[in-house]
Structures are given as C-alpha cells and as structure tokens.
C-alpha cells in the first residue's frame, strides 16, 4: 500500500470515526484560544528563534583596532585600502602591507602578539573575514563609487574606521552571506545606508543619487552588466 493510500485511508477513518461526534464539541472559545496559541507560537518561532538559528558567528583571527590605525596613518582609510594602478581596489591589506610597519611587534597587546607570532613570523596571510564581501556574481567598482561619485567609505561600510575592536563576523548558515550584506534586521528594515547591501539597496541608492540610467531594455533601469559579472 503506498503512502498515499494510507493517508487517504487514515483521512477516511478519521472522518468516519470523528465525524459523528463532531457536533458535541461546540466550545467556540477553545477554538479561538487554539488559534491564538498557534499564531503566537509561530510568530515567536519566526521572529525570535528562527533568526537565532539562521545566523552564526565567527571570531576574527584577532581583534583589529581601526581607530588606532587611522590615527597613526597620514592618508585615512586610503593608507591601507587603496586603488591599484589598474583602477582595482586593494580591499583588505595583505600581510606584506602590514609588515611595512609591523616587522617587529608594535605595542604589547595580546592581538599584536598573535599577529606577529602566528602570521608575521610564519609568513602566513591573515584569514580576515570580510564583513562586506559581495557574492561572487557581483562586480562592485570602488572606482566608480569612490572616484567617480566621490562617495564616502562610511556610506557602505559604516563607522568601521572608528571601531576599536573587531566585532564578530555574523553569517547566514544557509547562504554563507555576511549579515552585513543581507541586513541586520530580520524584517529587512535598514536604519543606516550601510545596514544592508542587497541588490535592492544598490538600486535604491542609485535612484536617490539620480544615477539610474535607462540602459536596460527590459527594466528601463541600469543594465544588469553594470554591477554583475
């Protein structure tokens, strides 16, 4: 007997046995109560438990003090996060950049010790977890935004430059996206421009900035290949 048959049969039996005594249990109050219980339980599940299950955290290899570094360097963010000659953006610095200053331990913090012992002396790249890495299908041009549109880093990256330690890296267990991309608020609300970096957010900002072109025949918006690869 297939499962379908069984189900059908069970359903029938159910109707056959309970159908007759259906009339006597007419307590309407209970019915509403059960509705409310079901409703509340699923709301708690969906709004509270589910996000907890969906997101996980990882710690950075060691804590990085942006504020301290910004004070030390001359050129602000661009001292370490700069444009290469071909117009591409360097992103997270490589070890070689760090060791320009950190050949020897600078300061006596625990993080500095980890950095020097485990990475500088071992000549290993630091496996930083990038909060704002877009998925592979996205082509994001820093040049277009920073040089072309003269945007500030803060618009997308928030005040990370003022941070004194590295916050945990949160990511979605299903997609492995950084939570900074998908958005911190489970309902999808974004207070700040950097709270979420999904495609709609790109589009919204482009619209606000008045840089929406009508190059796409299908959408009358920016063509797909502007930001995708």
């Amino acid at each position: 007997m297939s499962t379908l048959d069984e189900k059908a049969k069970e359903g029938m039996d159910d109707h056959a046995t309970h159908g007759s005594d259906g009339k006597q249990s007419g307590a309407g109050g209970f019915i509403i109560l059960f509705f409310i219980i079901g409703f509340a339980a699923s709301m708690v599940l969906g709004w509270v438990i589910f996000p907890k299950l969906l997101y996980s955290q990882k710690q950075q290899p060691f804590s990085f003090n942006h504020a301290l570094h910004v004070e030390e360097v001359d050129d602000g963010c661009e001292s370490c996060h700069f444009f290469r000659e071909d117009g591409s953006f360097s992103g997270t610095p490589k070890l070689a950049q760090c060791t320009e200053c950190h050949e020897e331990p600078m300061g006596d913090t625990e993080d500095e010790a980890i950095f020097v012992e485990q990475y500088v002396t071992m000549e290993r790249e630091v496996p930083w977890l990038s909060y704002s890495r877009q998925p592979d299908c996205v082509f994001f041009s820093h040049a277009a935004h920073v040089i072309g549109a003269k945007m500030d880093c803060v618009v997308c990256h928030g005040h990370i430059g003022e941070s004194e330690e590295s916050r945990p890296y949160e990511y979605n267990r299903i997609t492995t996206y950084s939570r900074d991309i998908w958005g911190h608020n489970i309902a999808g609300f974004a207070k700040n421009s950097w709270d979420r970096m999904k495609m709609d957010d790109c589009a919204r900002c482009h619209k606000e900035a008045g840089v929406i072109h009508t190059s796409s025949v299908q959408t009358e918006r920016d063509a797909c290949f502007v930001c995708h690869k």
Binding site: G87, A143, H213, F225, H228
Partner: protein, 276 residues
C-alpha cells in the same frame, strides 16, 4: 554626481567584424574564451549538443565534390542581436529578466544567478549561442587554481553565453575612472578571442564610433537596420531581423550565401520580404 541627473552615458554599440578569409579555424578563439571565462569541461566533450563553447567554430562547405570542394570556418560568438530596439530574440522571452539588452553598450547580458534554467532563450536563439549547464562544473583537483576572479563560475541548471568579455569593460572602466577619463579607449577593451586570434581575423570595438576600426571595416548603415555597406560583409541570418552586431567578411560568394537562407532565385545579400 547630481549634475549627471538622467544624463545617459554615450551610446556605444560594441560589435565585431570577423574576416572569414583570414580565419583558419585554428580554435584559438575558442580556447581563449574558455580560459578567460572559466568555462568548464567534461571527460567527453565530443557531444557538441551538450558542450559549452561560447565561441564555437562551424565548418562550412560549398557542397561540391572533389576536387571542387571548398571549406570555410565560421567562428560564432553570441551575436548580441539588437533586434528591434533591443528586443533581441532571447531577451524578450526570458521570464525572469535574467538576460537583458543594454542600450549603453549594445551587449546582451546573461545573469546566471537570476536565471532559473527554463531554457526558453535557448529555443529562441537561432544561432545556438546559448548553453545550458547540464552538469555541475567540476575542475580536476588543482586546476581550479587557474580560475579567473573576473568571471563568476556558473552552477548547474543555468544558461550561459558569450558576454563580449564584458568584465574587461568593467575593469577598463575602473582604470578610466582612476585616470579621470570618461570613455574607455578602443584598445583598453578587447575581447579575449580578438586578442588571441593569431590570424588577426577578429576586430572588435564600438560600431557607433567612426574612429574605431570595426566601424571603418563594417560601415554600418543606420538607415537600413545596421546593414554593412562593405560588399564583403554579411551578418548571420540577417533576414530574420535579428540585427546582430557580429559581421562576417568574405570575398567568396558561397560563404556569404551560407550565412543566410535564400530561395533559389534570390540574390545573395538580398533583403528579406518585410513581414512585420
């Protein structure tokens, strides 16, 4: 940026001219494309109906018997049809807007992460320029090292096709921003196949820009749907109204005739009967 409000960038129309008299069928364009665009491969690639080759070389024959036989090779990238106002055969049929026509560049884009694999576009394309990922791409252990970060590897179950190496335009634009230039120079954006072709048979550039070599070769006639005014030039299946941006050149009449369907009495290059 505000002052550029609704100020659309210059309208370009990237296209190609492929000289079939020069093309030797060597296959360099195919492999240049594969290695530029992270195209996967399987143990058996001899079934050409399931073999992803954004650039594919067809072998044409004049159909005559020995010793009057003649053959010609025809490299076929995506033709980047403009159709009527950007409604190329594939673009208008995609139900999820995964493929699109850009008025800015004339390039037909394919966003594989949007595509859900219905394959309607493949049915629509008369050039068979679209390929479905029937399998998950797998690189033998170690070989994934040569994958380029500029082109996202595709997953199983989506359609992909030639992009005119659009990522190279994106990168060239980065450089242009850095250099404070508004336009990408001709030599800064060339497709991988153009660059590799040892016979120099492929010329790529902006068909709208009279300074570009491709414009000078093709001499597109805007009054007649972009038809070339070069007597050696033809487009594949031009009579369907696909309005492609890949032009072919040949001094051999049989080759030009092979590029389209003609009734017996019709002259090669004759326009089709208007049917719209």
């Amino acid at each position: 940026m505000k002052n550029e409000h609704n100020d659309n960038p210059p309208v370009m129309k990237f296209g190609m001219a492929i000289d079939l008299d020069k093309c030797t069928g060597c296959g360099a364009c195919m492999v240049a494309c594969m290695s530029e665009n992270n195209i996967p491969f399987k143990e058996d690639e001899s079934d050409k109906l399931v073999s992803i080759t954004w650039m594919r070389i067809f072998k044409l024959s004049n159909g005559k018997s020995f010793p009057d036989t003649d053959i010609c090779y025809l490299p076929r990238p995506c033709q980047h049809c403009e159709g009527h106002g950007g409604h190329s055969p594939c673009v208008s049929v995609c139900p999820a807007t995964a493929t699109d026509y850009s008025r800015e560049t004339g390039i037909v884009s394919q966003i594989v992460t949007r595509c859900f694999g219905c394959r309607y576009c493949m049915g629509a394309c008369p050039y068979h320029a679209r390929y479905f990922n029937w399998w998950d791409p797998v690189w033998p252990d170690g070989m994934e090292k040569y994958l380029s970060p500029n082109v996202s590897p595709r997953m199983r179950g989506v359609v992909e096709k030639c992009s005119f190496c659009f990522h190279r335009y994106q990168l060239a634009k980065n450089k242009a921003y850095l250099d404070g230039e508004r336009r990408v120079p001709e030599e800064a954006y060339q497709t991988a196949c153009t660059q590799a072709c040892p016979a120099g048979a492929i010329v790529f550039g902006d068909l709208n820009n009279p300074e570009h070599q491709v414009h000078q070769i093709v001499k597109p006639d805007p009054k007649h749907g972009g038809r070339s005014q070069n007597p050696r030039a033809f487009r594949l299946l031009e009579r369907l109204g696909t309005n492609t941006k890949v032009y072919y050149l040949s001094s051999r009449e049989w080759v030009r005739r092979s590029g389209d369907n003609y009734l017996e009495h019709e002259k090669t290059g004759q326009a089709s009967q208007p049917h719209h």
